[in-house]
């Protein structure tokens, strides 16, 4: 096995340290904590910010047994990634606080017409209401033929705004669904 950085870090939790250093560190060693990432699961991901595409490793704890949810304990740059070589910028370095963030939206909500507050709404009801909005708007405004009588089958009253971290696969589902509705105003961060 090649002595990679992570293997070394793991091994250094054991007695190998004493022999490498050549003097007795038993006392210090007894007080050293086991590394936080020693028993984590490593998941390879890509930083969601700029387009350098730095490889990141997300460390999670949790044995993946039933009813146990993995917990993120550390995020670091992937030293194997040919572009970033383990480095991360101030934004990439704070990714753990993006994953574990108490400002995250945790439940669907709706603001009713004329209202001054958000109300909770169940997912199923949200899906039903949104689908009804889409169908109503589409049926009222769908354009089958243009002024010259040519077939156009287009919808100019519903717009899609896609984000910069939407994956390619998600974006393909957007093209499939939105174009099938006839959506013309299909745009993305890519434009701006």
């Amino acid at each position: 096995m090649n002595p990679t950085r992570r293997n070394f870090l793991r091994a250094s939790g054991g007695t190998v340290v004493a022999s490498v250093l050549g003097f007795n560190v038993q006392k210090a060693y007894a007080q050293a904590q086991e590394l936080k990432i020693a028993r984590t699961t490593e998941t390879r991901s890509t930083c969601p910010y700029c387009s350098v595409s730095c490889g990141v490793i997300i460390h999670t704890l949790g044995d993946k047994a039933k009813n146990v949810t993995a917990q993120v304990v550390h995020v670091e740059g992937d030293p194997d990634h040919p572009i970033n070589r383990g480095t991360l910028c101030p934004k990439g370095s704070s990714l753990m606080q993006d994953i574990l963030n108490d400002r995250r939206l945790l439940k669907p909500q709706v603001r009713r017409p004329g209202s001054d507050h958000w109300e909770d709404i169940g997912w199923d009801q949200a899906y039903n209401e949104i689908a009804r909005h889409i169908k109503k708007t589409r049926d009222e405004t769908f354009i089958t033929t243009d002024a010259q009588g040519r077939s156009v089958n287009r919808l100019e009253s519903i717009a899609w705004n896609g984000g910069c971290t939407d994956t390619n696969e998600f974006n393909y589902l957007v093209v499939k669904t939105m174009r099938s509705l006839g959506v013309c105003f299909l745009e993305n961060q890519a434009r701006v």
Binding site: S51, I83, L105, K107, T137, N171, F185
Partner: protein, 831 residues
């Protein structure tokens, strides 16, 4: 990027302009530094501010925002005057020798031939090549096409050949003119032009230069033409296709390259297929319009790879509609919307403000903060019937009805129903992003979404399936594409992105045989590459450009091979790069006419005479068995087979060569042609909220916007660590301007444009100096953009609830439809 991040280490010369990678792409910036350290490469940085990129440059020039074409045109002029061009490359790999038809006129007065002032568009019939043999040009009443046989003069002496016209066009871009427009003193400009073109000194063909840019170039009313000017300079110097060369967009978001490939924009379908128009009539008519035919000198060859367009389009429709797309029903052509107007970003908000767009679905896209002209976007949302936002944090768009300036009583009159749905973050989702080097890299999900949040694909899918159910039960307008959309995922309510990735690559629907090798792909198998796509319905592929990414060999996008045998930073087994894992586009151009690399030290691909094939360290971006003597052009996606110094016909909306126009709001009249100061085909808007300012009205300061290293757009204002690093936004103000206005660093100031006022603190700096533009003293100021009205600091009332893009104008580039976020006019006051 034509090249890639690591490839920058192979360069000898860098021009970094319209971008600030040291601060905005810090982990990619190690590669320019590597080039400096290992190759002694030189770095020229041109920017309105002395940035941290500028701090490590060999030469820094401060430029006025929006004058980039004048600078680059000046460098082209210098290269031509001093013989600093790659002659063999220029003659054989570009359209320099092509002859342009009679009647074409250069824009000495600011206008090319064919301008129609009433429609504000060009009739582009004269923007064309001359047919070989001096045959009459096509008559004006037929739709103009490129001639199949082009008249050309390899001696480059014909006064109407592209090379001579190019010389004439940029002869006006003298160092004196560059100084008047850009504010860069003549001697400094000459130093930069000499340094950049020094790679071609004394006929050297070994050295390579790269050009690196970002949204400092794209966000102008002539942004596409700035990038064209850079591409032309690189073609003149023979730098495209070569390791360490190319035209390289840094890109500021993790998947906007992928979103463009996947047609997240109104005018494309996946793989850059142009959307159908009402005039196309049927599938054949659509194909006829969007499939180019070769146009070249008689004795040259052109692969014209877009001639395969029908294969890509049929495979896409088979992927989308499966069995419902048949030859008999024109591959379900009727299902696609037909468009003949612009539906770009700025138009969404304009049409919503006018009451035409009634519903908006925004997934991870904060249109209010992104702007431009944020107040118009807010007021547009007030008029919508409904809004669905899927995001991670409370953000400005879903909270538009709570924005500053909306009094409680107005809320009652805002009838928009707003759904705010909790989506999943990057760590909770798998799938691929495409980086700026065109690499597709799979990421794996580490944790489930928190609370009741859901995966975005599940949210979108369940909305769609509910709509479909309603159409199945109740009928309605044109339900066919909705009910017939192929949706054969194992879990139809929550499609696995791995399944979608395989669908994007595509598979054989019947047995497909490669005529050259007799290799058979059996029905149901994943296709090995886009050469196997067919236009008879026997293949399906969601995006032809990514065909080859998930084959029978497995998910190439998941590869993690760390070997780099050539040492050029190609990493052929890491992830997968479109097209067909080629890491440098147009790499045939890295060799001379005989197929021998220009530089034996940086061998990418080459012609192997024994094998009669192109081989190499990279995958040849070329017809593999095309012999050098056949003179096939390296630019296989152009019908000419060569790079375009001159863009014929409809390629560009505003001219075959770039011309300097002033930003829409400018402190001066264009010194080249004061009577035609702006881009004549610029797209401006006309609602009561679309106001544009002039210096006469007191808007005399040039304002530009940018990002900080510590923040990302409007997300990290929710992240405690980033907020701690930079807790509040500021306005960068030149010391001299601050002194004139009596502003002290740290004081609150307000910046006002014709549209709105923005509040932040003053940061008095020497990083931006006063400039002399056409004899006039001009100040520039800079705004980092990361403030909004929802965030840790905003919610705590510690910073102004104010968005930088309240200031920016809705006025767009006629080619890419990108708004002019850079270089608009403002006034500055103490708050």
């Amino acid at each position: 990027m034509t090249n890639g991040w690591i490839d920058i280490k192979n360069t000898d010369m860098m021009l970094i302009m319209g971008g600030n990678p040291a601060e905005n792409h810090p982990c990619g910036f190690k590669w320019p530094i590597e080039a400096k350290r290992q190759r002694n490469a030189k770095m020229i940085v041109v920017d309105p501010r002395f940035t941290r990129t500028a701090a490590v440059a060999d030469l820094f020039l401060q430029i006025r925002a929006g004058s980039d074409i004048a600078f680059l045109g000046g460098v082209i002029h210098y290269a031509l005057e001093n013989g600093r061009v790659a002659k063999e490359y220029l003659v054989n790999y570009t359209n320099a020798a092509f002859v342009i038809r009679e009647g074409f006129k250069l824009p000495e007065d600011g206008l090319y031939s064919g301008f129609d002032p009433s429609a504000q568009t060009y009739n582009k019939a004269t923007w064309n090549y001359q047919e070989s043999g001096g045959k009459a040009a096509p008559t004006e009443n037929t739709p103009p096409l490129l001639p199949p046989n082009v008249d050309f003069d390899p001696a480059l002496e014909n006064p109407r050949c592209v090379y001579q016209l190019l010389k004439q066009q940029y002869s006006r871009y003298t160092p004196e003119m560059v100084e008047r427009i850009t504010g860069i003193p003549k001697d400094q400009f000459l130093k930069a032009a000499d340094l950049f073109t020094s790679i071609r000194k004394d006929g050297d063909t070994k050295q390579v230069a790269t050009i690196i840019y970002a949204v400092g170039w794209t966000q102008h009313t002539f942004g596409s033409q700035i990038i064209r000017t850079a591409a032309m300079l690189q073609l003149l110097l023979g730098n495209v296709g070569r390791a360490g060369g190319g035209v390289n967009a840094l890109r500021g978001h993790s998947n906007i390259q992928g979103a463009t490939d996947m047609a997240g924009i109104f005018d494309n379908l996946p793989g850059y297929l142009k959307v159908p128009t009402p005039a196309d009539g049927n599938f054949a008519g659509w194909m006829k319009r969007i499939t180019p035919t070769a146009s070249k000198p008689k004795d040259w060859e052109s692969w014209n790879y877009w001639s395969n367009t029908p294969k890509f389009a049929v495979s896409l429709l088979k992927s989308m509609y499966g069995a419902a797309a048949t030859k008999e029903n024109d591959w379900a052509y009727a299902y696609l919307p037909k468009v003949d107007r612009e539906y770009s970003w700025a138009h969404i908000w304009d049409d919503m403000y006018r009451g035409n767009v009634k519903g908006l679905l925004a997934f991870g896209m904060n249109g209010v903060a992104i702007g431009p002209n944020s107040q118009k976007n807010i007021d547009a949302l007030k008029k919508a019937d409904w809004l669905v936002v899927c995001d991670l944090y409370p953000e400005e768009t879903s909270s538009f009805w709570q924005s500053p300036g909306v009094p409680p009583e107005e809320k009652k009159s805002i009838q928009t129903e707003v759904y705010r749905l909790p989506g999943a973050g990057f760590a909770e989702k798998d799938g691929t992003f495409v980086n700026s080097a065109r690499w597709l890299q799979w990421k794996w999900a580490a944790v489930p979404p928190p609370g009741d949040a859901k995966l975005d694909q599940e949210i979108l899918t369940r909305i769609f399936l509910k709509v479909r159910e309603l159409y199945q039960k109740e009928g309605g307008k044109f339900p066919d594409p909705i009910v017939n959309l192929a949706w054969n995922y194992t879990d139809p309510e929550n499609p696995s992105l791995a399944e979608v990735a395989k669908e994007l690559n595509g598979r054989a629907l019947g047995d497909v045989t490669d005529p050259a090798t007799q290799q058979v792909i059996k029905a149901g198998q994943q296709l090995p590459g886009f050469a196997f796509l067919r236009d008879d319905g026997s293949t399906a592929s969601g995006n032809w450009l990514w065909c080859g990414s998930w084959t029978e060999a497995g998910a190439l996008i998941q590869r993690r091979g760390t070997d780099d045998p050539s040492g050029l930073g190609i990493y052929p087994n890491w992830g997968w790069s479109w097209p067909m894992n080629r890491r440098v586009l147009y790499n045939r151009a890295s060799c001379d006419l005989n197929g021998k690399p220009w530089d034996s030290g940086r061998r990418q691909v080459w012609w192997n005479e024994a094998q009669k094939r192109w081989v190499g360290n990279d995958v040849p971006d070329f017809k593999p068995d095309s012999q050098p003597k056949d003179h096939m052009g390296p630019f296989i996606m152009n019908p000419e087979g060569v790079g375009r110094l001159f863009v014929p016909l409809g390629g560009m909306a505003d001219g075959p060569f770039p011309e300097h126009y002033e930003p829409f709001e400018s402190p001066i009249a264009n010194p080249l042609h004061p009577s035609q100061s702006n881009n004549p085909v610029v797209k401006k808007f006309s609602t009561n909220l679309d106001k544009y300012g002039t210096s006469a009205e007191g808007y005399a300061i040039v304002c530009t916007t940018y990002r900080l290293t510590e923040h990302y757009h409007y997300w990290t204002k929710n992240n405690p660590m980033n907020v701690e690093l930079v807790p509040e936004m500021f306005v960068e103000i030149p010391v001299e301007l601050a002194n004139e206005l009596g502003i002290i660093g740290g004081e609150p100031v307000k910046v006002t444009s014709a549209r709105a006022t923005y509040h932040a603190k003053a940061m008095v700096t020497r990083r931006i100096r006063p400039m002399t533009i056409d004899g006039k003293k001009v100040y520039q100021i800079g705004l980092p953009i990361h403030q909004g009205y929802r965030g840790i600091q905003e919610d705590a009332g510690r910073v102004p609830r104010s968005i930088a893009n309240l200031l920016s104008p809705t006025v767009t580039d006629p080619n890419a439809y990108t708004p002019e976020f850079k270089g608009f006019l403002v006034k500055l006051e103490k708050a």
